[in-house]
Symmetry: C2
Subunit: 137 residues, 2 copies
């Protein structure tokens, strides 16, 4: 049995975040000490570690909730888990692609400055005017 602080340092999840997860039902309500402080065991640790890892991978809490529910008895847990992971992967790839477009655009905008223009601020002008963009976004 360990305290919330110990759980926090074992998992790397901050204390207020652990309490928040309990509030919204992502982790189960912890047992309490005689003085009303939360006490955790290995099962609590494993569950929080699962949540942490999934969050680090960028999964939203709702998806994590689903995965936890699957783990506790669904017909095709693995099918569904795979679907959730694949969905998230798709989101991730879209986001990366979009960010790369912006990166190219912003690189171009930022480089105007270095290329010797002096009169007006080309950086601000480029930010102001979408028509100066080479790609759509």
């Amino acid at each position: 049995m360990f305290s919330i602080g110990q759980l926090s340092s074992k998992t790397g999840v901050k204390i207020p975040t652990i309490r928040y997860y309990e509030d919204i039902g992502i982790i189960t309500n912890a047992g309490r000490s005689a003085g009303n402080q939360r006490r955790y065991d290995d099962a609590g640790l494993r569950r929080l570690a699962f949540v942490k890892h999934a969050r680090d991978l960028g999964l939203p809490l709702d998806a994590i909730r689903e995965l936890i529910a699957l783990d506790h008895g669904a017909d095709q847990p693995c099918e569904d888990a795979h679907r959730i992971a694949a969905d998230h992967l798709q989101h991730l790839r879209n986001r990366i692609a979009r960010l790369q477009t912006l990166e190219r655009e912003l690189t171009r905008i930022a480089s105007v400055h270095d290329s010797g223009y002096a009169s007006d601020c080309q950086v601000i002008a480029a930010l102001a005017d979408h028509h100066l963009c080479e790609t759509s976004h």
Copy 2:
């Protein structure tokens, strides 16, 4: 002179968002009709278009606020604007790199399913256990 709805369709910024921008001082308070409805001119349009474009590029509103202030009289507006753009570009590149790490990891996790394992759910196991990861994140 045009209404908020017209401004919205010209710029692609939704009406509640325009009002929100006015609230927080990103755009200046609009003039009003006799019946208290907002009325805009070309200057208002240009300013909102600037904000929109910068938001599309992912700049946070605070950075946009700074850029607007620069445009209205700083000593070295272009230097500062360039710094803001370059900072943002750095953020963007970090985020892309991080997302790419996650993408690789998640691809690996999702592919376990396809590779013929059947007994336990390897997808859930991989999500649960950080030690199964090949890279740190």
